[in-house]
Symmetry: C2
Subunit: 307 residues, 2 copies
């Protein structure tokens, strides 16, 4: 491995997994709905929310959503009513006017909805999908990658998967996949629907003022030679077709060429398709580390308990 | 789901993962070499080994291999010298006259070797490979599966992956794959070498008198239409080509049609290739559960510590 001043020599695939899983639950307290954990907030935000007795109340170790908010609609409305003020106070990011579902665990019922811009500050479990667009097979396969537009608020100019999107409330996973494929890369519905589910990648990442508890459903799309993706919605600057081996080398030797979580999706692809092999001493750590349970364990918290 | 007396209705893919991960460390104590955990033994075996002061000594919470056994060869010879007596005492299974490496963690140095037949009783970390042999692609793909010979000592008559093998000491993973492909299914070397690594599946399973800490490297082999596997070494009764959908249904509805750990390998295949999709409510538990770190965590125990 070549290196500049020894920095790159210390890098490897595992560093991306470590980077995406840095967090400290000691700085954060849970908030609950009806006795189940809905998310985690910083102690600072907990203090602020405790000043809103119509919506939140303190418990011995965190916060609870007020009991009188008995159904998802009431809860959504009550919390939404706080967000503008929290934003003015600098406690949350800019609102996105797109709602995420708040759930205790994947597959659980919707407890309420919350604006996407507040999802990290409230530390809710979020999901989405990332799609690997691939031309050809085996060692000579090529991967379509995107470069994010230079004016995007987050990670401008960074490399990205061909298509990816957060999961908004009210759409199925496949509806969202078809929608984002159309909007981000001009992929027709029929081609988008040929994408195959290939597992998931998860991580828990502390971010300034928040916690990203994220689970990405991974899809592989066999892109026909005749199809070229086209940027439509201004989020993507350009699409590029690169040998998978070259993409692997970018991921392995650079911490920030790709948007942080895309590195994990690509490492997962490289493992599933035999580009990273068991003779890599980090192999078990990579395979397991890509899909750590999003704390708290999605099993342990099931209403029906572990089976 | 159809069911007989309601039994099958309660079954699902997750049950195989639970079954392979049943264990109780409270019944077992660690044994160490040079300060690192080499394995776990039952309290009964620990008591028996403490009667061999030239080889083992008691510690506050387990056993330590005697300090004077300073290198891997000495340790291997000293422990091997006990095995016939342990077998006579009924403390270990029949010897296999094939050695496994004893390592603290995957990719770590060989601390010693031990007969395969004693690996579970000594609770050492063992590895091997399972190979999915597949004809065709997508929803119509077919899978080659094996039926184990009726006279095999373990799991006679059960269904199995096309090829699988424990990892003997002294061979590389690929050398062993080529050897087993030849012996078990008459797969020529060139075809065997075209198998692609596709990740791993791991589990920790309590067995009578022992502990199976097992990590299976998973390979996918694209089997040409013109190739038919052939049983050679008497371990396989017959090979069958079945639609992947049919194999999935066997795994989903039957706890013991396949040899226990083959179910995990097939579930992993079904996830990687989009036969099990995210609309299965168990999806996150399946993906994560297939590759739980083999306790103790392979990261935490590294000599250089977590990075």
């Amino acid at each position: 491995m070549t290196s500049v001043a020894g920095v790159a020599a210390a890098m490897g695939y595992l560093d991306h997994i470590e980077l995406c899983n840095r967090h400290d639950f000691r700085d954060r307290v849970p908030w609950t709905i009806d006795g189940v954990v809905a998310g985690y907030v910083t102690r600072a935000l907990a203090g602020r929310l405790a000043d809103e007795p119509d919506v939140f109340a303190r418990t011995t170790n965190g916060l609870v959503l007020a009991d009188h908010l008995g159904d998802p609609e009431d809860r959504t409305r009550a919390v939404a009513g706080l967000l503008d003020r929290l934003r003015s106070d600098g406690m949350i990011a800019a609102l996105r006017h797109e709602d995420y579902s708040v759930r205790q665990h994947i597959g659980g019922g919707e407890l309420m909805r919350i604006d996407r811009g507040a999802a990290e500050a409230f530390g809710v479990l979020s999901t989405g999908f990332h799609l690997n667009g691939v031309r050809g097979r085996g060692d000579d396969a090529m991967m379509w990658i995107a470069r994010r537009a230079p004016d995007r608020p987050s990670y401008p100019g960074a490399l990205d998967n061909m298509v990816a999107g957060g999961q908004p409330a009210g759409l199925t996973l496949v509806q969202n996949l078809v929608k984002e494929c159309r909007e981000e890369a001009d992929i027709p519905e029929g081609l988008a629907l040929s994408a195959r589910a290939a597992g998931l990648v998860s991580y828990t990442m502390g971010v300034p003022g928040g916690l990203r508890r994220h689970l990405m459903y991974v899809y592989d799309l066999a892109v026909p030679d005749a199809f070229t993706p086209r940027a439509r919605d201004g989020e993507v600057e350009e699409f590029m077709l690169r040998p998978v081996h070259e993409v692997a080398e970018i991921v392995r030797t650079s911490l920030d060429s790709f948007k942080y979580n895309c590195n994990l999706v690509i490492i997962d692809f490289l493992i599933r398709h035999g580009f990273i092999t068991p003779d890599d001493p980090d192999y078990p750590d990579l395979v397991s580390g890509l899909r750590r349970p999003v704390r708290p364990s999605w099993r342990a918290e099931r209403p029906d308990g572990p089976r």
